[in-house]
């Protein structure tokens, strides 16, 4: 969940914030050295490598590589399989983001409203935050298991013969449920703290002006929550795109052929199973561009339209 961090949700301000600073030629570089060394070796080097190898075709037996220009990109973007996976990723991301935000918001509003048991609800609702995505996937496999899964039995009761792991749509459904389940606590925590940050005076004024609870929420509370909501929108999108890898890996169990997978999973499959270095790198670069666009979109548009209180 910390992949693209919340700090990234705000454009950085001026670096030199302090009026008084130390003057030293050497010391700042000394303090920065460990961080910069790690960033160079494990961030910039592989990133440049990815861009570089996306223009080359690697020999499968490891004997050198040939420059192929944009061929890897056109191959990827022309492939029907890739486009299908891209479409699934878009749908998956939209649904996971929407439902985890909606349920998180609903629970936060309710938890903010009740007085009795407030702390207990809060404690119980945030547990799942601490669970790793693949462990969540394992829990999902158990709940949707053909033999013992209670959710399969519930579905059967409604005449739905659910076959998670075999049927494409059923697997997609289960993946979405598990991914939403895992992400609700995060949204809940942020919405609740956002709600608790709204001054009592504002709430009381709204209460006097407007008797309908729903309209009050819609016209007063929700706009005040907008900064939180937009920040969460980006975080949830990156979560659905990248951090659900563990959920998907556990739920498709290496049988990706007839199961839904996301773009990140495809990068992994092609790179580590298919040994297609060029294709996988081209896909990596495409993902990098998506993340970049997302971030720029966030800085340029969203930040401007949101009312800060």
């Amino acid at each position: 969940m910390l992949g693209l961090n919340k700090s990234a949700s705000k454009p950085p301000e001026e670096t030199d914030a302090k009026r008084v600073q130390f003057n030293s030629r050497l010391l700042p570089y000394l303090f920065l050295a460990p961080q910069m060394a790690i960033i160079f070796i494990f961030f910039y080097w592989p990133s440049v490598q990815a861009i570089h190898s996306s223009f080359y075709l690697e020999d499968p037996f490891g004997f050198g590589s040939t420059f192929v220009g944009l061929a890897n990109y056109t191959d990827v973007l022309k492939s029907g399989e890739y486009l299908g996976i891209a479409r699934f990723t878009a749908v998956f991301t939209a649904l996971v983001t929407f439902f985890s935000l909606a349920i998180g918001l609903l629970l936060a509003v309710k938890a903010d409203g009740v007085i009795r048991g407030n702390a207990t609800y809060k404690t119980l609702l945030i547990w799942v935050y601490a669970i790793a995505p693949p462990v969540a996937g394992l829990m999902g496999m158990m709940m949707f298991d053909q033999h013992i899964g209670p959710l399969v039995k519930v579905a059967a009761f409604f005449g739905w013969d659910m076959k998670v792991g075999l049927n494409y749509n059923d697997t997609a459904f289960a993946m979405i449920v598990v991914s939403v389940w895992k992400q609700i606590p995060y949204n809940f925590i942020f919405f609740l703290s956002g709600l608790q940050g709204i001054p009592v005076s504002v709430r009381e004024a709204a209460l006097m002006d407007c008797r309908s609870g729903f309209r009050r929420f819609w016209t007063v509370i929700l706009p005040l929550l907008a900064p939180t909501a937009f920040f969460l929108l980006i975080i949830n999108t990156t979560y659905a795109l990248f951090d659900t890898f563990g959920v998907i890996d556990v739920m498709v169990k290496d049988k990706a052929a007839n199961n839904p997978i996301t773009l990140v999973y495809k990068v992994y499959m092609d790179g580590f199973r298919g040994n297609d270095l060029g294709g996988s790198s081209a896909q990596s670069v495409i993902l990098m561009i998506i993340v970049f666009v997302l971030t720029i979109f966030q800085f340029r548009f969203i930040e401007r339209r949101v009312h800060y209180n």
Binding site: A8, F42, A130, A132, P134, M139, K253, V264
Partner: protein
């Protein structure tokens, strides 16, 4: 008014049921025998095999080479969680200190180079990162497991924000008293950052403990497996056998979630503060 409150509680209870139910079922089911689970399905009541299942999972040697036990995986998870959290805090405090308290030539460019790392998660550059690790011969080592995860500068930003909120007067006073940069860091900054350090440690420990993709790529030697990394192996056993060892699979899943869940529960207040306020 009264009726709406009741309705609120109903929704919250449904939420709790949805969130906590599966965890409870996993815990309870893990205390039954495999054959029993296969016959009767999942259970919400405790069975009589809690101790022997967990003893077996923790001490029995399993995996393909038979070298790995639950205890070993747990230790590896702890090493990853603690190593990652500690490394992150040390690196980012030093870097943030340099950025906030020093005037130097390449400050702006350094800042942007660090900022860029927040834009691209590890997942989009897994293959080249793996190649780099191969070149450096760091696969199947603890440093290979931990250090590359430190490359994202989230912590640096948390601490940078926090240092900026520390009043300038403190530095002025310290300078009048003749304190140099090292002394100021150790005697003023570190003590002031205690709560912040604790909050970030919790968040980062949970993050490190829960890593999956990177450990999957980095460790092929089973003696380096973490609990979360081992999940895949659990499932392979589950799929392969006639009566799957559901109980053992659940027990391992429970073991993989207990430490991070406990930490979040116990330090809930710090954890929420760290998560939501580091943004400001």
């Amino acid at each position: 008014m009264h009726r709406t409150k009741l309705f609120d509680h109903v929704i919250l209870m449904m939420g709790v049921f949805f969130m906590v139910g599966p965890l409870l079922v996993a815990l309870m089911t893990s205390s039954h025998e495999a054959a029993e689970i296969h016959r009767n399905g999942l259970s919400i009541l405790p069975g009589g095999h809690f101790v022997d299942t967990y003893t077996k999972v923790l001490t029995k040697e399993g995996g393909f080479t038979g070298k790995i036990t639950g205890v070993r995986m747990m230790m590896n998870s702890l090493i990853l969680g603690i190593g990652f959290a500690a490394g992150k805090i040390i690196l980012s405090m030093l870097a943030a200190y340099a950025l906030v308290y020093f005037r130097f030539r390449f400050a702006t460019i350094t800042f942007w180079m660090i900022f860029t790392t927040l834009l691209l998660p590890l997942e989009v550059r897994i293959l080249p990162s793996y190649e780099v690790m191969n070149t450096l011969k760091l696969t199947n080592t603890y440093s290979g497991l931990i250090v590359p995860l430190l490359a994202s500068a989230t912590g640096t930003f948390y601490f940078r924000q926090f240092f900026k909120s520390i009043p300038d007067e403190l530095l002025e006073a310290a300078r009048i008293d003749g304190a140099g940069p090292f002394k100021f860091f150790i005697d003023v900054i570190v003590p002031l950052s205690k709560t912040m350090i604790a909050a970030i440690f919790i968040i980062m420990f949970v993050y490190g403990w829960n890593q999956y993709l990177w450990p999957t790529l980095m460790t092929t030697d089973e003696s380096f497996f973490t609990l979360v990394r081992g999940i895949k192996q659990i499932l392979l056993v589950w799929v392969g056998s006639n009566i799957p060892d559901y109980n053992e699979a659940f027990a391992l899943a429970i073991l993989a979630m207990v430490p991070p869940v406990m930490i979040v529960m116990i330090f809930q207040r710090w954890f929420i503060k760290g998560l939501t306020e580091s943004d400001k």
